[in-house]
């Protein structure tokens, strides 16, 4: 068999559209996962027992069910009870909820890592809990959570390929169409392998730079 990548030339724009949809879905899902992760992380550090338990149940449930099962439940199961959501929105919601469980772990670790003395300084100076959380806890926790949140994003990019099973034509969905159009699955999926690897490699470099930039003022140079 001969590897002939030129047969993909007419489909580059088509695949590009799929890649753009993957990027949009992943960015929206990351935003959803971080917001959800923050709320769940707060709930997991709450002093109210039932709120804490509810948050732990959410994390345990969504980390221990295969993503494809969650996705099918949202896309094929919910219409049975009268809830209809389009495929792309379903994909974003499912990725946000699944990603939120992992993001909450990352953010919770960031919160727990904050030096208690800093929180005591905020408390004795009379800062309210809301101000302490929004101005001190969250900015520090998010800075220290950049790397683990980056892993959540990378995992999201990889998992987003499953959305093709519910008719979302993101990168993998478009590639499936090209493969059936050209009858050249070897070339199509070989390119897909490289594109996903390159995408996650670029994201991990971006995350490292962002982490360095956000934490440069937190690192001690003199003591």
């Amino acid at each position: 068999m001969r590897l002939d990548l030129t047969i993909l030339a007419p489909y580059l724009g088509f695949l590009g559209q799929g890649a753009a949809l993957t990027a949009v879905i992943c960015l929206l899902s990351l935003a959803g996962a971080v917001v959800l992760g923050m709320l769940v992380a707060i709930a997991r550090t709450s002093q109210t027992v039932w709120i804490r338990r509810l948050a732990f149940i959410y994390v345990d449930v969504f980390r221990n069910i295969p993503f494809i099962v969650q996705l099918f439940f949202f896309y094929y199961g919910l219409p049975e009870i009268g809830i209809y959501i389009d495929a792309i929105t379903t994909g974003v919601i499912a990725l946000s909820i699944a990603g939120g469980a992992y993001a909450s772990d990352a953010i919770r670790s960031g919160i727990l890592a904050i030096d208690n003395g800093i929180l005591e300084a905020a408390e004795v100076s009379g800062l309210s809990k809301r101000v302490t959380f929004t101005r001190i806890v969250l900015p520090i926790a998010l800075r220290t959570s950049v790397r683990p949140l980056g892993s959540v994003l990378i995992n999201m990019i990889l998992t987003s390929s499953i959305l093709s099973t519910i008719t979302v034509n993101e990168l993998t969905g478009q590639a499936k169409i090209v493969a059936s159009d050209t009858f050249r699955p070897f070339e199509v999926y070989a390119v897909l392998l490289v594109v996903y690897a390159a995408l996650t490699w670029l994201v991990s470099i971006g995350i490292s730079r962002l982490h360095k930039r956000l934490n440069r003022d937190l690192a001690s140079e003199a003591a």
Binding site: D115, G117, I118, E120, A121, A122, E123, V124, S125, G126, L127, S128, V131, R135, I136, P139, I140, R143, D217, L218, A219, S220, E221, A222, A223
Partner: protein
């Protein structure tokens, strides 16, 4: 007036403060001496409301720190400087100092920042306005910690072993600032191991031993042979501090 009345504090079975009474009037500098574990820092933590009391009460200008509704008012009247600085690491020195006056006292940001710059200048840090804590030396961080406390214009400044984490040179930097504050009439309750410095700046010296307030005497009397030194425990402590 800051009043500590028959305060008791225990952690589990360990009694840390056992019926402590203390009064600090405006303008006074009161130093608290005692060995490690004597309850000095716990007393400061009780005064600023970080620890709940097991007995007695603490009143700052008529506001009882044990009552949640009065604690906020009590905290506006006192400010704490910590041993390990506890600066907000993601904020510049200016932001560290301005945060509480803007958020708690609801003062205009521009006015607060102007005062913060003046405070930093007064402790020799006018060139560090935009520096982050990680880029400062220990002595500089503690000076920022003092500025952060002073920015709240507290009636009572609580200092918890503020030089313990510093080397001798940095300790001297910080003590010079505190001496200046004492001369300016700032009311201070000062937990320290710096016996000589306490002798220089304090109006009164309080000695804690195993959670019990052993003596509360004017500084001169504390160091007099017929005063504090007449107590064997205090004589032993001071002689050990001299050797160290």
């Amino acid at each position: 007036m800051l009043k500590v009345e028959n305060v008791k504090k225990a952690f589990g079975a360990a009694t840390v403060l056992d019926g402590v009474n203390l009064t600090v009037s405006p303008g006074e500098v009161v130093s608290i001496l005692g060995s490690s574990g004597s309850g000095k820092s716990t007393l400061i933590r009780c005064i600023n409301g970080l620890e709940k009391l097991n007995g007695g009460r603490i009143v700052i200008d008529d506001f009882d720190v044990a009552k949640p509704k009065e604690l906020a008012e009590a905290r506006k009247r006192s400010a704490t400087v910590f041993q390990l600085f506890n600066l907000y690491p993601h904020m510049t020195t200016l932001q560290n100092i301005a945060l509480a006056p803007v958020e708690v006292l609801k003062r205009p940001r521009a006015e607060v920042e102007q005062e913060a710059r003046a405070l930093l200048a007064s402790v020799g840090l006018s060139d560090k306005v935009d520096a982050y804590p990680a880029h400062l030396s220990g002595g500089q961080r503690q000076r920022v910690g003092i500025c952060r406390a002073l920015a709240m214009k507290p009636r009572y400044l609580l200092l918890d072993e503020v030089t313990s984490a510093l080397d001798p040179e940095m300790t001297a930097e910080v003590l010079a600032i505190l001496a200046k504050l004492a001369r300016e009439g700032t009311t201070m309750l000062f937990v320290t191991h710096e016996v000589d410095f306490a002798r220089q700046i304090s109006n009164r010296i309080v000695f804690l031993d195993k959670g019990v307030l052993l003596v509360d005497l004017p500084t001169k009397k504390f160091f007099a042979a017929s005063g504090g030194l007449a107590q064997p425990r205090i004589a032993q402590f001071l002689s050990k501090m001299k050797k160290d």
